[in-house]
Symmetry: D3
Subunit: 243 residues, 6 copies
């Protein structure tokens, strides 16, 4: 099976780190085809970055879909461009945010999210509401750690994330924690051990869920909003992306 | 990996059929340990049957957990006794209803459920609300087919289920269908082909999800309502189940 | 009128205490027929105990219904087995949890619940959501007092409950308090006096509501999920409960 | 016990009819003190009538409260002025709409309302949402029968109401019916018999609920929005109502 | 264009202050026709005052409508009598509460309300839920300042309001503030400057919104609950208001 | 005042048509600065087109903001890129979808949307939920008319839209209609006259609302998700858009 994992930002070192996390989880027969766009922001922190990460990310999706990907994983916790990607791909598409929310829902009545910056709290809350899982989430917390500060092991960042987890257990009745950034993939086990509760990383969650969809033969429905894009002209710089 | 699959009713032929469906989906290294209780109803149709299926089902969970199960699947679409099972097992527990709802949410904005009898509509609606996925579900429909009528290939039952799927597409804007009974596990592919949309069977969905939890090392959180039962006396007939 | 009051746990002294509270509220012509199962847990604290309390409780319901009960009261705040009981009885059935929520809704815009252990918070929240009254409830609080600690007057337990009431008024804008355990029935008046707000005990609330249903001639509807159980075989230990 | 029942419109014959229904339900020792305002509309059909019914109704509440009423019932299905009445009375206050919704919730998972005119659908829906019971209500239907057409037995009106009940069972999965007008109090038994499901009349429901509150010693909380009105000057025509 | 602005209380100095705020916002060609009833409370603080403010307010609406008002503004933050006013007027009607909520929703994902007394919190919460905007509101806070204390510049009142704004930013993640009383209209600019976030005053918001409705030719729909009142007799003191 | 109106697709004739509608509504002193991107799709029908319309649209926003726009209007009913635009502009930003929903909420308790293609139903439903106004919307209907078919007067398209309006009144209890495409701006008056209910066009609604925000001095809050984008590198084709 061939899983296409796209890091929607343009930071190659982050792609490598996420791909390693994905490979550590994937089944023996699964190939992780990790890509990143050549255009767009170096990290995604808020709505503006998201908007400019999507075109390049969709380019990766289209290419990998043509190359025979069995499923696609969008490796940004905001699930950047997830819905557009579903219309663009024949294979199913999963965001690491939704993957983490669904997995956390299977092991806890109530979870909390710890993300990077507070500018991302509302977008994550909107996703939770769109997916239907807002009531399962006790609170979305921000550790106020920029995305790229997570590229390497960073004791200060780890401390801030750990403090938010402690607060979520104490103040929000959180029973499990969802780590709200692809760059936190390597911290889950350590934080779970330290705080004595399940800690869910979206990258690993998305790998098992997308392998599951492929094994079940389930693909995105074409009957509703995920119908294939209608043929039409795209002007200018973006004409290569024309459906 | 060892998955314990419990059919909460006492009909052995149905256990065999469900186990076959599970084995057809499971990973090569996964052992499906299918069980059924020796006490309780021959099928579960409504709240009363549920109540008397739970003790025997929990007995199976406790035994299989002691025998080293890595995860448990409750193979009744009402997710009978799911919450109690989570308190009783060290390993994670998944119901086939919730498994199907979560998987359907990854491939469609809006799905419909087709279950057996209308007496089950409200319990399923309550589960959807409890899980948070009620807004993702366009409608829960009943084909008015008794559970045990699904044991063998039954043309009349298939026709009724197919008619409800057609109605769900036409009237409810359903983009995908969730089959609302473990006994329908063998119909998914045929119905998907006929109606041209994804059809999700909960047994197969639960197999991939529980394998996913095991591979991710995720277990039920003990911090909230799924804490292990407190030690106490159980009187009479049920004293063997004392925590 | 004959009200059957079932304490779903097997602790006879608790049944006697609850029955006394019920008799103190009941109309002159009402007979309180208090029962408890001979099988199951000595107290109900969480989902596992609930699951094993239900069969014996339903046995009491079926017997009392045959003996001519005009209504049934389930005297556990989790409303253990309420829905199954409705299918099993010709007479209407009320849980003391729902009784308290409905009565509190008539005298306050916003109430809080003070229950025994935090393991019960989520089950009570789920009930509130199922009944529709979740938005009326400011918060479910746990005093961390085990159920059986309430059997006799217990100054320490009373102090903990009182402290949670004070916190609910100060922090949650609670206008009324619902006591979240049948064993707290004798504390309502004292706590109402102390804190200067209405305090609702579910046992007394359920007595007046069930007398009301009987006087109005209202019985559980058979058109939906509370239809009588379908005839079928129950195997083994639980075969006496076969519908 | 002394129950004050106020018909908020000025039609004395309707007051008499409602009072008779209340007396037929009340306990032997209960006195029904039925009143109606001397100012305001002859019937309440929509927001404008409501606005002008409230002052006179509140006058009745204040007088009856001073006269020693143990509880007040507002006998208009829109629960006209209910919240203001709660601030004005020492005794508890119940609206017949909320009374019917709460009672119906105890005997059915899902009920429908059949009211007089479609202009009342939205106000009733808003009440249901305010009380928290909107999800319990399958649909609010209007029979397009004016309020005063219900004063005497009216075969045509009965036929229209009966047709809406049939539609609610067939199309809305209604398990019980709430009659949405005080003037329908005499039709409940006949319609229940005809359609084979529970039919709830708010007047009778409110009598048993208010007797229940009195017997439980529960009064409206003063801690929130139902605090007694602050002393202040009222100008002109309405100065007699000054708090 | 002619905007009728009605202050539903009888305090003329407050009408003058509100009218000045409205004129400061209105378009050059807009005439502000400010009125107040001659009957009813001098200020509106809670449900009881509301009930007695409505008849006089509706009288003003009817007269101004006959005098050719192009739109009506109800200048009390509780939107007192808004729905009845819509049935009574040919021209559209806006409450300053709803005006402020809608405008705040256009500039912030999440706003907080700071109102006068805590007795108004629940009525405002109910309005927010009725309008659909409850989830946009982080919290309704009360500064515990009586309405008439806001008539003149009052340093103590300003300090209390400012303290609640600071708390809303710090504790509620409020991004914008809605001032919850017509009497606060003159404080918006000062508080916005001090706290560095948008502060919305309902009077000014309602002026631009009602001018907008008039310019768009939009009037209240007559198809639903805002149909014109049915002709009928009103008895006694209130007969002049008969439809 | 200077309003920047951006048509997010690249069809100049559509920009001209929308600009004309905006100018017909705008105040005498308002300049409508209509723009369209030079890159992206010729029409927006679903998530994929949206994704590629956003970068060019944000380019227009940034330029017009630098050119001194007092407010921005995004003239696509899906409110394409609205949130990103808020972070990118100093001036406030309004989408024509949200503008229409807010205006419709002021004149009807319940409205329906009639949009172009059914692929847009779910995106519009998600917007309604995000804005909080989902409960105010009876139903989102699609006339199955492509966006560019609306460029010129098209009798067949008008007939389909009119048929959906008729159905919304008859089947959905719609009291007002929101036209779900910028290209329908010229049809509102005709359809309102024909069907006898208010018909809201988002372009005109957005003009008055944005003029209102400017006159009130209200700008997008920077405290939450609409904070200005953080400075960072954007790679490749999209580097000109780097914050």
């Amino acid at each position: 099976m061939r899983l296409h994992l796209v890091n929607p930002n343009t930071t190659a070192s982050m792609t490598a780190k996420i791909a390693a996390a994905a490979r550590a989880t994937a089944l023996p027969g699964t190939v992780i085809d990790a890509r990143q766009p050549t255009m767009g922001p170096v990290s995604i922190e808020g709505y503006y970055d998201e908007a400019f990460a999507v075109p390049g990310m969709l380019g990766c999706i289209r290419e990998a879909d043509r190359d025979g990907a069995d499923a696609h994983i969008i490796a940004c916790f905001d699930d950047t461009g997830l819905e557009a990607a579903r219309t663009a791909a024949k294979a199913p598409v999963i965001g690491i945010g939704e993957a983490a929310f669904h997995m956390a829902s299977l092991i806890a009545a109530r979870f909390a999210v710890v993300t990077t910056l507070s500018v991302s709290i509302v977008p994550i809350e909107h996703n939770l509401r769109k997916y239907g899982l807002a009531e399962r989430c006790a609170r979305v917390r921000a550790a106020e750690v920029p995305v790229l500060a997570l590229e390497e092991r960073n004791v200060e960042a780890l401390g801030k994330i750990s403090a938010e987890i402690a607060a979520a257990i104490r103040d929000d009745r959180a029973e499990a924690i969802v780590l709200g950034c692809a760059g936190m993939a390597d911290l889950a086990a350590e934080l779970a051990g330290k705080h004595g509760l399940p800690v869910v990383d979206g990258v690993a969650a998305a790998v098992t869920l997308s392998e599951g969809l492929v094994r079940l033969g389930l693909k995105t429905s074409r009957l509703g909003p995920y119908a294939a894009p209608r043929a039409k002209t795209y002007a200018g710089l973006l004409s290569p992306f024309q459906p």
